[in-house]
């Protein structure tokens, strides 16, 4: 187990470095360079040179990369090209709302998707089981921005049950906070919940058709115990493996949901940064999101290996 852990962490280093290089390389795609994008192409050579000096763009590209990387390790994320505020403060201001959305949606997706998945597996030979499965396919393919606008328009604008836009932080009281996030969290949890439903269903169905479950039935073990203790366990490792993927999907979807509901999180900031060509902010948030997914992927691998000795040995 220790050896596997060490190998997995060592393998993490090149992936992390490579992702930082990729994010850094985005900058070189900018037509005319960042300074050009900042002041416009008809600015004087002097003005461009001044900006390049201020942003440290007059150094060779390799030096720039290591300056940037070193800065990241020391918590210097640079300053926004557009507003001039530090990217670090932008992120710390906005990370809370995003985290609340994503974690809330994940919890709801796991609980809701789990319950529905179990029900679908138990009723797999009936119409309800198949109908639930088809519905989950629809939940996976329906565009999140559409669900978000319809939900906000129907429950927020037309019926007025919840606010259609805006976010009130936890510091302003738990009640108003929950009131403002309940709809976005529910919308966000739909695709992940559908994915969890399918994973729980397929894992359980596979188990229910296997000899050890037949033995369990033959031994006269209660149905509830067979389903929840014996069959559900078989689905858990599948869910843990897919968790990072689900989280990546949630982070991507949070961009859309935050924009529709006008929630001040990292997702809506990334859209604003892309529209205003604020590369420093864009770069840092993209890297942050990728790091999150990479680290979670690693954690999920380790967790699955810790649970399943067969996988542990194969790694």
């Amino acid at each position: 187990m220790k050896r596997m852990l060490r190998r997995r962490i060592v393998a993490l280093v090149p992936t992390l470095l490579l992702s930082s290089i990729l994010v850094f390389a985005l900058r070189s795609l900018i037509p005319g360079g960042p300074a050009d994008a900042l002041v416009g192409s008809n600015a004087s050579g002097q003005a461009i040179a001044a900006i390049n000096r201020r942003l440290g763009l007059d150094h060779p590209i390799v030096v720039q990369y290591f300056n940037w990387l070193g800065g990241l390790f020391q918590g210097r994320f640079g300053t926004s090209y557009v507003t001039g505020t530090s990217v670090g403060s932008i992120i710390s201001e906005r990370v809370g709302a995003s985290l609340e959305l994503v974690v809330g949606a994940l919890v709801i997706a796991l609980i809701g998707g789990g319950i529905v998945g179990i029900a679908a597996a138990v009723n797999r030979h009936r119409f309800t089981g198949r109908a639930v499965l088809s519905l989950s396919a629809l939940g996976l393919s329906v565009p999140d921005f559409w669900v978000a606008t319809i939900a906000a328009g129907l429950f927020g604008l037309t019926l007025g049950l919840v606010p259609a836009v805006g976010f009130s932080p936890i510091s302003a009281g738990l009640g108003p906070n929950l009131h403002s996030v309940i709809l976005p969290v529910l919308v966000l949890s739909i695709p992940t919940g559908a994915l969890v439903t399918r994973l729980v269903h397929s894992g359980m169905v596979q188990a229910l058709d296997s000899p050890y479950i037949r033995t369990a039935w033959a031994m006269g073990i209660q149905a509830r115990r067979v389903y929840l203790r014996c069959a559900l366990r078989n689905a858990v490792s599948g869910i843990i493996t897919f968790l990072p993927l689900a989280l990546a999907g949630l982070v991507g979807a949070s961009v859309v949901v935050e924009t529709v509901f006008d929630i001040p999180g990292l997702g809506s900031e990334i859209v604003v940064a892309a529209q205003s060509r604020d590369y420093a902010t864009l770069q840092t948030i993209v890297l942050l999101m990728a790091l999150l997914v990479i680290l979670l992927n690693c954690a999920a691998d380790v967790a699955v290996a810790a649970m399943d000795p067969r996988i542990r040995r194969s790694l």
């Binding site: 992936t15 900018i30 565009p143 921005f145 991507g252 859309v256």
Partner: protein, 292 residues
């Protein structure tokens, strides 16, 4: 698209080559009704969008201050938007850019992903390791986030949005192709070809690639349906097709501001995106079952 050269050792490699055979034998049994509906819908909507200049009742760009936000009527079957433009015409023209975008995205994905996967699978060793590590890294970015970053850098337009999607999808195709190439690399019919003096490039392109394409072909359907949704999402966020040009995603975003006046403008484009994406993946599932 499928095998141009049948492997002599077909009995030992029951791989994609079986696809053509299965296709012939399944032709007698008809496709399941779900796949039929999906394919019919796809054909109808693609043809309708291609023929938009003939079918559209109105110019999608002509605004009218007097005819803003109207409900459905004989003149405007799906009503008008906040600038008085005919929604049906905009939906038809918007579909053109949507399917054009999917085409560009798939083409870019193929151009990027196929050499990537083929090289990794055939070269092996350090090259393989490096190429696959790179693919894993690109795949660790959330797809929409990476696409936003790339369009943000290159400037928003349909073409940059679709190139961004190609960058996100390329590694997916590369990984799949590499997995399909690996068992073929050491197959007997490749050994025979090599001993007959066939060149390396010709073995790779004529003997290995066609036989490894089946899983990629199936995956391209899922990617097409995903590309359609991401393209619409980028346009929705203002990072794809730029207004006033018609697009499903951007039109939906504009109509949403007037949801309480007429929700139709929000519902219709989203419904079409959903059904089209679903139809593409149902068709893909059918192709998968035929190729098996």
């Amino acid at each position: 698209m499928l095998p141009s050269v049948a492997p002599p050792a077909a009995s030992e490699t029951p791989l994609p080559e079986a696809g053509a055979v299965a296709l012939a034998s399944r032709r007698r049994n008809s496709a399941p009704w779900g796949a039929r509906i999906a394919m019919t819908f796809l054909i109808v909507i693609v043809v309708a969008c291609v023929l938009a200049p003939l079918l559209a009742p109105d110019n999608p760009l002509s605004t009218s201050i007097t005819a803003r936000l109207q409900g459905p009527s004989l003149r405007h079957l799906l009503g008008t938007d906040s600038d008085g433009r005919d929604v049906l015409s905009r939906v038809l023209y918007g579909g053109r850019s949507a399917f054009e975008g999917v085409g560009i995205a798939l083409l870019g994905t193929i151009i990027l992903g196929i050499p990537w996967g083929l090289l990794a699978g055939l070269a092996g060793g350090l090259v393989d390791e490096a190429l696959m590590r790179l693919a894993d890294t690109v795949l660790s970015f959330p797809a929409l986030v990476l696409a936003i970053a790339i369009t943000g850098v290159l400037g928003p337009s349909l073409v940059t949005a679709m190139l961004a999607i190609s960058v996100v999808f390329g590694p997916i195709v590369a990984r799949l192709l590499r997995t399909a190439v690996l068992p073929l690399r050491d197959a007997e019919f490749i050994l025979v070809a090599r001993s007959l003096g066939v060149g390396r490039a010709r073995i790779a392109l004529q003997h290995i690639l066609p036989n490894a394409m089946a899983p990629v072909l199936v995956q391209l359907f899922s990617l097409a349906s995903l590309a359609l949704i991401i393209e619409a999402a980028l346009a929705f966020l203002g990072l794809g097709v730029q207004p006033p040009l018609p697009s499903w995603g951007a039109d939906l975003a504009q109509a949403y501001s007037y949801f309480t006046v007429t929700p139709l403008g929000t519902i219709v484009p989203g419904l079409i995106i959903t059904i089209s994406a679903l139809a593409i993946s149902v068709t893909g599932d059918y192709v998968r079952s035929v190729l098996r």
